[in-house]
């Protein structure tokens, strides 16, 4: 168990204990954010970062973690709730105890700050990109699309709602709308959907994992890569390399994970000390072949 020291190794006058909780601990992107947050905490010094071990969107597990943090009386909690309404009571309890309550990429009333990563923005970037792509490659239509969702975790809704709205707008039928956030189901859904709908050309994943699964299905089909648009969200390294390879994988709404990780620490400290910016939104950026420099930068970040 790490005891915090100052950045230069000296003992601290005051140590801030900050808890960061995310419901999908097994996801690659989450593991990376935690890593960046820890790195930044070490850099700043005098910060002890607590990380929970919730996986699989387990409400029970996340709830228990946050409760014990509240019982412990740590200084700040940064969390992405499985379901915001299920944590309103705890938020109030925490704040009554003087614990700063910050949300991570989600909305909660009365929070002391937020580490923004906007799921809607992410969804919107993909939505815009796919609209452009359709206009350029299939202006006459005649294609269909698949989107994956995770309706049990409403926080992410922007990631699929935005692309769905955009596709509706341009009149591309959505023939598959299945719950999926990993490669295995992505592959299976894409295979089945392709067989059922030979005109399927668009696959938008809730995250990169789902989209990467779909990528294998399209690669195995006889459809030329130019005709296909696959996109994910998060900016996972495997996805970035797939984009760079110039195949069917066209884009990913990438989060600047280092910035995001740093904000967890910085915004918490700002909320505790009352000094500094407590609400930040780390923009997602669209990673695609259109911007090679950006792609390189993102890849560099994740190395």
């Amino acid at each position: 168990d790490a005891t915090a020291t100052g950045a230069d190794g000296e003992a601290c006058d005051e140590t801030y204990t900050i808890g960061f909780s995310h419901p999908v601990g097994e996801a690659d992107a989450v593991k990376q954010v935690k890593g960046f947050a820890q790195a930044h905490a070490d850099e700043v010094g005098c910060v002890e970062l607590l990380l929970d071990n919730t996986t699989g969107s387990s409400l029970e597990s996340q709830r228990q973690t946050i409760e014990s943090w509240v019982t412990q009386g740590i200084d700040a909690i940064v969390m992405q709730p499985v379901d915001p309404t299920a944590f309103a009571g705890l938020q109030q309890q925490a704040q009554e105890k003087g614990i700063k309550w910050l949300t991570y990429s989600s909305e909660m009333d009365g929070r002391d700050g937020s580490v923004g990563f906007d799921n809607e923005l992410s969804g919107k970037q993909i939505a815009d990109d796919v609209t452009t792509w359709i206009a350029a490659t299939h202006p006459e239509g005649g294609i269909s699309a698949a989107v994956t969702t995770l309706v049990s975790v409403p926080v992410y809704a922007g990631r699929w709602e935005e692309p769905i709205a955009a596709l509706d707008e341009v009149g591309v039928p959505i023939v598959s709308e299945q719950e999926c956030a990993d490669q295995t189901c992505g592959l299976q859904i894409a295979e089945d959907a392709l067989r059922e709908n030979p005109d399927l050309r668009i696959f938008i994943g809730l995250n990169d994992s789902a989209a990467l699964g779909a990528l294998k299905a399209f690669e195995q089909s006889a459809i030329s890569a130019d005709e296909v648009y696959i996109a994910g969200q998060d900016g996972a390294i495997e996805a970035l390399e797939a984009i760079e390879a110039g195949g069917p994988y066209k884009a990913s709404a990438a989060i600047l994970l280092d910035e995001l990780g740093a904000s967890i620490i910085d915004n918490s400290i700002a909320a505790i000390t009352g000094d500094g910016e407590v609400d930040t939104v780390t923009p997602s950026v669209l990673a695609s072949l259109a911007d090679q420099a950006q792609l390189d930068e993102l890849k560099e970040l994740l190395k």
Partner: protein
């Protein structure tokens, strides 16, 4: 184990933390008691997690449309109804317990999600009092869990039903032949487990002050099963002690709590809790072997 936790964390052994552990796991205690009795009779119910969700959603809808008491009733009635359904198919018609309850696990979750696509919240204040208030310094929900445990211990310990349950678990044919209404007992046990799941769904919703249909009680069946098995009830039934089951639940809760307080990531948490389970199984076997030697 306990020592490791106590040494490595500041708050593991504080009274606050210990009461909090029970309060956090009140739902688990409630379901585990009923589940353990069912398992002693040789039957399982894997649908408890979804039953909780369905009952919780029903309670939530009723809280916001009718009132607090109807909400409480709704949770209990829905839980009971699911239990009665399971009990009919399994107890009365003799269908496979595992398959039926796996089916209900999926179906009840689906129904809960259909009923409440978004989570339900903004309940009357009384709900929050139920979830967070306390009496004599002990939270209401802890009182509820204690009452359920006491009822379970009473029934299994000193009433004929306790003997009948064990007899059914160890030799259903013999139980039938001495005139125990086996089908009716099994039916009733499923109804009780359903009711317990309804109650624990209610407890969860009151604590959360919200009823998220997609995640409420998700994966709960595995936790309950693990706790009950750890409590020494064999999967084939026929024996077991509710005291040990309470210990099993406590153990699971403590591990979870200790791991959180020690701030380990999901990778290490998985490895540690896996090893603890294996160790526990090993200790039990060792105990058996030693007892037979004596």
């Amino acid at each position: 184990m306990m020592i490791v936790f106590a040494v490595n964390t500041r708050s593991f052994l504080t009274v606050d933390n210990l009461v909090a552990v029970i309060a956090q796991n009140a739902a688990l205690f409630i379901v585990a008691i009923a589940f353990a009795i069912l398992l002693m009779a040789g039957y399982v119910d894997l649908s408890v997690g979804s039953t909780m969700a369905l009952a919780g959603v029903a309670a939530g809808l009723a809280f916001n449309s009718v009132g607090v008491v109807p909400g409480i009733m709704a949770a209990l009635i829905v839980g009971l109804a699911v239990g009665v359904f399971n009990g009919l198919l399994i107890g009365r018609f003799g269908m496979s317990a595992l398959i039926v309850t796996l089916g209900v696990l999926a179906a009840a979750r689906g129904i809960a999600m259909t009923l409440a696509p978004d989570s339900i919240y903004g309940f009357p204040d009384a709900v929050r009092v139920l979830g967070a208030g306390s009496f004599l310094g002990v939270p209401y929900i802890v009182w509820i869990a204690v009452a359920v445990a006491a009822a379970g211990l009473f029934v299994m310990g000193i009433t004929p039903i306790g003997r009948h349950v064990l007899a059914i678990g160890v030799n259903p044919r013999a139980a039938f032949l001495v005139g125990i209404p086996v089908k009716r007992v099994v039916f009733a046990l499923y109804a009780v487990v359903g009711l317990a799941a309804g109650l624990s769904g209610l407890v969860m919703v009151a604590r959360l002050d919200s009823a998220p249909s997609g995640t409420l009680g998700l994966g709960f069946e595995v936790t309950v099963l693990t706790a009950v098995l750890l409590g020494g009830v064999p999967f084939t039934g026929g024996r077991g002690s509710l005291w040990k089951v309470l210990l099993g639940v406590w153990f699971i809760a403590i591990i979870k709590n200790g791991l959180t307080l020690m701030n380990v990531g999901p990778e290490v948490a998985n490895v540690v809790s896996g090893c603890v389970l294996i160790l526990a199984a090993g200790l039990e076997t060792l105990q058996h072997v030693l007892r037979r030697r004596l």
